[in-house]
């Protein structure tokens, strides 16, 4: 299986190979001429190729933003589809430069896997989706239900915790990929499917009968989704982190794809620093000073990217909710570029 083959490959690499030069990711990306981005491949709205093979989605946009910042060309990205099972081994072994695959930032992953998380670009939580015919309106009514889940995820652990703390018993059916889990849910093998709430909306759109499924209101866990990079390369981590904050700052300051040219002439010192008219912030990252201009031109600001891929301008129609700006009651807070 591909997952075991990758794990075996990194075992061989670790055993006999030299330690990969860790602080050189930016240089390696520039030499290669394209960014290797670990993506989902099957999650609508976040990272999936369309029928023509062009990748699109919220996480995909983030990788395109990084590529635009480095190369001024958002198409210089190669997307590597990964399952939940092999995403970390792919990052650890150097197969990808950045993992942008709806991955939850947890302490054990941060400390024991040799990866670092850059910035939370989506505040999510775990939810349930059930067949409408079961007439269930709350997750607390799911005692003894059979729930399909993908293995190797925080979802698996949270599910067991939730049912135990609410004194309900549970039958889990675990699968290696989300596709298999969804198929089992559709065939009636399980009553419910659980994953991050954003994923539920994405998967429901792809069902053969989306109207036969409802998403239950309970959010049973915190799932802060964040892109991940290897530990030990602080310069690369800075680039990934500040790409996110630049996009949020742009939305806070009202800079968007449509008014970019006007904003370049703005007198607002914050906007001038953001767009590189003043200051050497781009160069301090190892990029050019117009790095944010490149990003906005490629994918827009945070709000634009959100709306186009998973918000009201998409089939998923997820509300901003927790992911609204902090000034609008949400949690997205852009760190200052100064």
């Amino acid at each position: 299986m591909k997952r075991l083959a990758t794990a075996f490959a990194i075992a061989i690499l670790l055993a006999f190979g030299l330690q990969a030069a860790s602080a050189q990711t930016l240089k390696a990306v520039k030499d290669r001429g394209e960014l290797l981005c670990g993506a989902n491949g099957t999650l609508a709205g976040f990272g999936m190729p369309d029928p023509q093979g062009n990748w699109g989605g919220f996480d995909v946009d983030f990788c395109r933003a990084i590529a635009a910042a480095i190369f001024n060309d958002p198409t210089k990205v190669k997307f590597v589809p990964l399952t939940a099972a092999n995403r970390f081994t792919a990052l650890q072994s150097g197969e990808i430069d950045v993992l942008s695959r709806n991955t939850t930032w947890t302490m054990s992953r941060d400390t024991t896997l040799g990866v670092d998380f850059a910035a939370v670009n989506y505040y999510d939580g775990q939810g349930f989706m059930v067949h409408k015919a079961l007439k269930v309106s709350s997750a607390l009514e799911l005692n003894d239900a059979a729930v399909c889940v993908q293995q190797g995820t925080t979802t698996e652990l949270n599910l067991a915790d939730y049912f135990r703390s609410n004194h309900m018993s549970l039958k889990t059916v675990t699968f290696a990929t989300a596709d298999e889990a969804i198929k089992a849910y559709e065939s009636g093998r399980c009553d419910s499917y659980t994953t991050d709430s954003s994923g539920l909306y994405g998967e429901r759109v792809l069902l053969s009968n989306p109207n036969d499924t409802i998403v239950l209101p309970e959010i049973i866990s915190k799932e802060p989704l964040s892109p991940a990079v290897r530990q030990g390369d602080d310069a690369w981590e800075d680039i990934v982190r500040w790409t996110h904050h630049a996009m949020v700052d742009a939305e806070e300051l009202g800079v968007s794809k449509s008014n970019l040219d006007d904003q370049l002439k703005s007198a607002n010192p914050e906007i001038r620093r953001l767009l590189g008219v003043e200051g050497q912030f781009g160069e301090s990252l190892g990029l050019t000073n117009d790095w944010v201009v490149r990003i906005i031109k490629a994918v827009g600001n945070y709000g634009e990217s959100f709306e186009n891929t998973i918000g009201q301008g998409s089939p998923l129609k997820i509300a901003r909710g927790l992911n609204a700006l902090w000034t609008k009651g949400g949690l997205q807070y852009g760190l200052p570029i100064r």
Binding site: M1, R3, L4, A7, F8, I10, A11, L14, A15, F16, G17, Q19, S22, A84, A85, F88, T89, Q92, S108, R109, T111, T112, L113, G114, L134, L142, N143, D144, A145, A146, Q151, G152, T153, E156, L157, L159, A160, D161, R164, S169, L170, K171, T172, V173, T174, F175, A176, E180, A184, S187, G188, R189, D191, R230, Q231, G232
Partner: protein
Amino acid sequence: MADIVQPPQRCAGSIRNLALQATLILLVAGLVAAAVHNAAQNLARANIAHGFGFWNNTAGFDISQTLIDYSSSTSTFGRAFWIGLLNTLLVSGLGIVFATVLGFIIGLARLSRNWLVARLAGGYVQLIRNVPLLLQILFWYNAVLKSLPELRSSIELPFGGYLNNRGLFLPRPEFGPGIDAVLIAFAVGIVAAVVMCVWAHRQRKRAGTQVRIVWPALGAIVGLPLFAFILVRFPLSFHNPNLGRFNVRGGLEILPEFAALLIALSIYTAAFIAEVVRAGVLAVSAGQIEAAQALGLRSRTTLRLVVVPQAMRVIIPPLTGQYLNLTKNSSLAVAIGYPDLVQVFTGSVLNITGQAVEVVAITMAVYLTISLFTSLLMNLYGRSVAIVER
């Protein structure tokens, strides 16, 4: 058997050979030690957790089929490993039994003089051998699932069982306090049966008299425990499954994943075993069968007493290989969500702990051990049926 000329035992060459072999062993051991040390250093430098400390950490996830006690809140990763291993051994063991029985039947059927039977068996072998096992597993899983009714329209079986697409639910036997006596009686019955068979065998060798021992032996094995059972006042009750809102609670549960995997593995391996059996039977020289017929033995007796014992010598080595294949193929359970060792250990545990190197190494070592043990047993059996050359 041709005489082999043995070289003289003591000569300088043998000491040289020993020295070379010792050097090679040291070299290989040194390479392995260096690789392990290098891997540990690299893991430490990349800040990836290493070592086997994860074994005693709480697992936290649920498993759908557990043959021993398991709780997601208190059981450790080590416990999850044993659960996965038991599930693998269960499906492999049962698969070996069914595949052997089915394989022998199909193999002998292919040699039948009945044209239809022989062609049907041949068709079975050709079809099953040439379709990849993964596709067959998925086929049986979807066929098994799609044909079973939903929970709300479960088929009700006699004695209080239920059959639906969540599984087969049977009344679970629960044993009362007197069950030890029954088990002891069972053991005594087996010992008595073995003693009787040995005595009958020796009678035949010594005095030439044939003692009909089948019924008394069976009587000992079945009758003694039954007698003890009645004596201890029936320590057996059944825990019936209850049809709940979402699921059937209680009772003995047989998952559709387990059934699909078992059926697929048995049918697939039976096709290969059929060919092995056919090869073994064809290897028995025709003169043996003609001699048996000349002696007046019926074809069924010929098969049982003349053909199969001689064919077993040829059948055992490739049959061992098929058993090992079946055990390793059971790891395809990942595709349908059956919690075998690979699915639980290299799936959930590997991804929660992130320690790919240790987990995969342990899994490989376990499969190697199972395979070596199986081939050891088969070799012992093979040696017992081998012809003793004078």
